[in-house]
């Protein structure tokens, strides 16, 4: 390949890579014109806090999508975690020492759940779409069973303090989301794990024939996704209740975020930064529509259209 062609190629790749960042920047500028209150620190933090659960869950989704799979169960697992966590705390609501075991047990539960899903996908070669469609239903059902379809109040002071507190005006949940982002971004760019996950999504056969236990890596991403759902689900319980009805449709937001961020559903392509941009673009559009007083149902239509347009734009870039 000639130098010019190569340079052209990488420049194009650069444009494609930075497209989500540019879109977000344009949206921010546009919305600050639409509403003078928009660019206040308060509103920005609100945006981040409202979306911190989605951000966390989307990074699990990103890893799954990078391997060429999909995880439809994230919303249900998050709801399940929220309910289980609240139930485990129920007995000893005011005991700070009750937190670690409750959290640990919830995390263990979803790790086990993710391991089962991952095992079926990786070792039994079942389609991830089907497996997680089933586990989505099952986890949601489990959440209703535990909670008897009622909200479970979380009155534990430490939890509520966590949800209300902030560090230098940055809410804790945002800090947590930021930490997850940094870890995933680092993992994808610098570690053996991230590199192999991406490579598997790009060409699993070649990676397996390089003597790498691809099945193990594929299984692991479903476990990571489930674990992040637990974090996301508990953060979503910030209203102070465990509720089997939370996080409905979270899987769609997470998938949309990855796709808007340029991830390929066939695997191998996608970055942490752009997935973060994807969540924020989605969240910001929602925010703008609220500021513009657009009623909720048209909002959904507009959101759908925007997802399609985003993917179309990337498709054009991809086809040179």
């Amino acid at each position: 390949m000639s130098d010019a062609a190569l340079a052209g190629r990488s420049r194009l790749a650069l444009v494609r890579e930075s497209l989500p960042v540019a879109v977000l920047a344009i949206l921010i500028v546009a919305s600050s014109f639409l509403n003078r209150n928009f660019l206040t620190g308060q509103n920005i933090f609100n945006l981040l806090r409202q979306n911190s659960g989605t951000i966390i869950v989307s990074f699990g989704m990103l890893l799954v999508i990078l391997t060429g799979g999909i995880d439809l169960s994230v919303g249900s697992v998050a709801a399940f975690s929220s309910v289980l966590f609240a139930t485990l705390l129920d007995e000893r609501q005011n005991d700070a020492m009750a937190l670690p075991p409750a959290f640990g047990l919830t995390l263990l539960c979803s790790l086990g759940f993710g391991a089962l899903v991952g095992y079926l996908v990786a070792y039994r070669k079942m389609a991830s779409f089907v497996v997680t469609l089933a586990s989505m239903t099952a986890a949601r059902g489990g959440a209703y069973m535990i909670s008897h379809a009622k909200t479970i109040p979380i009155t534990n002071e430490t939890v509520n303090a966590f949800n209300k507190s902030s560090l230098f005006r940055v809410p804790y949940s945002v800090i947590l989301a930021g930490a997850v982002f940094l870890v995933v971004a680092f993992a994808l760019s610098r570690t053996v794990y991230g590199r192999l996950v991406k490579a598997i999504g790009s060409n699993e056969t070649a990676v397996r024939l390089s003597g790498i236990r691809t099945d193990f890596y594929v299984m692991s991403v479903y476990m990571v996704s489930a674990a992040l759902c637990t974090l996301g689900g508990i953060i979503e319980s910030r209203t102070g209740v465990g509720d089997a009805r939370v996080c409905q449709g979270l899987e769609l937001d997470a998938i949309a975020a990855c796709v808007i961020g340029g991830a390929s559903l066939s695997g191998g392509r996608g970055t942490a930064v752009n997935t973060l941009m994807g969540v924020l673009i989605l969240g910001l559009i929602g925010n703008i529509m609220v500021l513009m007083r657009i009623p909720p149902y048209p909002q959904q239509v507009i959101k759908g259209v925007i997802i399609i347009v985003a993917v179309l734009l990337q498709g054009q870039n991809k086809a040179k």
């Binding site: 610098r190 053996v192 390089s210 790498i212």
Partner: protein
């Protein structure tokens, strides 16, 4: 009205992303002629044929069909003009019947299939080619030779007058090859022009009337086949004397390094062999003979049903490529684009993939410095031509891609190298480099199991050859007794019974 040429292509040029695949090619085909198109892999034969069949658009040049200027922009248009092409990879629907496959785009009028009529038409087309088979059988269950006939019948039933056959005999036994030639000759009688792409010189000389030789996107010679001999043709193809192609073998053969005892798998049974240190053991077989499956099973890529594998005298239970790698076995797979490389990822990521722990910290963080060091050394040693190892592997030429696949395994300490068609689709220069590397590896005590369907390569490089057919070893020849004829005789022997 008879025309002199069915097809004339003049000054055809084509580039892919800056790489010149065709640099102004002239080619013509007469009615009732079998015309050989020969050249090394990557010479541009396939690109030229893809332009003729509408799969690629040319950048410059003219095409005349029946003397009329033709614009072939799409496969559909090519079909209308009477161009039929049979690729190496068949484009058949396995679950449909033979008849349905042949008439896939003309199953019936007004959206209604008249089955009896369909079967009769299909039977007739195949019978004209000299093949008689129940056309109601699903394609998935018939042999490769029949599948190929179905492809040819499909092209002819669309009234093809220009038929392109891309290495049709690579998958055929000698008997089946003869049947194909008979069919080609009867097509020739009927005035069809056949373009025959092949690597097998004996076939070119026995069935073709004329020849065009290509090298590096240019025509280097051509004319009536009677005016050429094998050596002359090969020299036009490779641009050098054949005798300088294969470096002399000098490595001393030592003790046993790999032994297979009565290996059984899905596609082979009762395979036993011994590979020694410093030895290149050839495995010759046709596509579908089980050769590739044997290689993959030893490495752990496919499951084994029975039998034992011994590495350095100790029994090795190898159930996955991971375990194969840990036992010091490497596999250079036959299809580098699908099995050897992650094309979208950087060259250096591909190279270190087999041994990424070596360039990472204990916590699994890749050290850019150590990785670059390892990669640069291998790239230099194998003379991989690239400006930047951060570019995706897809930007490399075939030969350099293959070097990257080999580099992956040099990065491990593999003592047993299984190379499945190591020089397929590689230009001559890179071929010689790969052969030299094989000599270097064996000189250091590695054992190489080389699977190949190129007889020249087997004879030129191997210390011993095993002939594999129908999933079993049919015979063995030492270096002194290796001739094209004797090797093929062992293949035929397997079918004689």
């Amino acid at each position: 009205m008879a025309v002199e040429f069915l097809v004339r292509m003049r000054g055809v040029k084509k580039s892919f992303a800056g790489v010149k695949a065709l640099r102004g090619v002239d080619f013509s085909l007469r009615p009732g002629e079998i015309h050989a198109l020969v050249g090394e892999n990557g010479a541009g034969k396939s690109t030229l044929m893809k332009i003729l069949s509408g799969a690629h658009a040319m950048d410059e040049g003219d095409i005349f069909v029946d003397g009329e200027p033709a614009r072939i922009g799409t496969p559909r248009r090519a079909k209308e003009l009477g161009v039929g092409i049979v690729y190496q990879e068949f484009e058949l629907a396995d679950d449909l019947s033979i008849a349905e496959n042949i008439f896939i785009d003309r199953l019936g009028a007004h959206g209604i299939v008249r089955w009896r009529d369909l079967y009769e038409r299909a039977q007739r087309v195949l019978r004209n080619l000299g093949f008689d088979i129940d056309v109601r059988r699903p394609v998935g269950g018939i042999s490769v030779a029949y599948k190929q006939m179905v492809e040819i019948a499909k092209a002819l039933s669309a009234n093809a007058r220009i038929l392109v056959l891309d290495e049709p005999t690579a998958v055929l036994t000698p008997n089946e090859t003869e049947k194909l030639f008979a069919a080609m000759r009867s097509l020739k009688e009927a005035g069809v022009g056949v373009i025959y792409i092949s690597h097998r010189m004996d076939e070119v000389f026995s069935v073709c009337d004329s020849v065009t030789v290509m090298r590096d996107g240019e025509v280097t010679g051509g004319g009536r086949i009677a005016d050429f001999d094998v050596d002359g043709l090969v020299e036009l193809m490779i641009g050098r004397k054949l005798s300088t192609m294969y470096p002399p073998r000098t490595a001393a053969v030592g003790g046993e390094i790999l032994r297979l005892e009565r290996l059984d798998g899905d596609a082979f049974s009762d395979v036993s062999l011994t590979l020694r240190k410093g030895e290149i053991l050839g495995v010759f077989g046709l596509v579908g003979s089980g050769r590739t499956e044997i290689a993959r099973a030893v490495f752990g890529g496919d499951g084994l049903r029975g039998g034992k594998v011994f590495v350095n005298g100790a029994e090795a239970r190898i159930r996955s490529p991971h375990q194969g790698k840990r036992r010091g076995i490497a596999l250079i797979p036959e299809n580098r684009k699908e099995q050897g490389l992650v094309l979208d990822m950087p060259i250096k990521t591909n190279i270190t993939m087999t041994n990424i722990r070596k360039v990472s910290s204990r916590l699994g963080v890749v050290s850019a410095k150590r990785e670059n060091g390892a990669v640069d050394e291998l790239v230099r040693r194998l003379t991989v031509k690239t400006r930047d190892t951060r570019n995706p592997a897809s930007t490399l030429s075939g030969g350099n891609q293959q070097k990257v696949v080999i580099a992956k395994w040099l990065n491990t300490d593999a003592e047993v190298m299984i190379m499945d068609e190591p020089t397929r689709g590689v230009d001559v220069g890179a071929k010689v480099e790969i052969y030299n590397l094989m000599n270097e590896l064996t000189a250091r005590g590695a054992g190489i199991l080389m699977i190949s369907s190129e007889l020249n390569e087997i004879i030129g490089m191997c210390d011993r050859v095993l002939v594999v057919d129908k999933g079993g070893v049919r015979g063995e020849l030492p270096r002194e007794l290796m001739t094209e004829k004797d090797i093929m005789k062992l293949v035929v022997g397997g079918h004689g019974s």
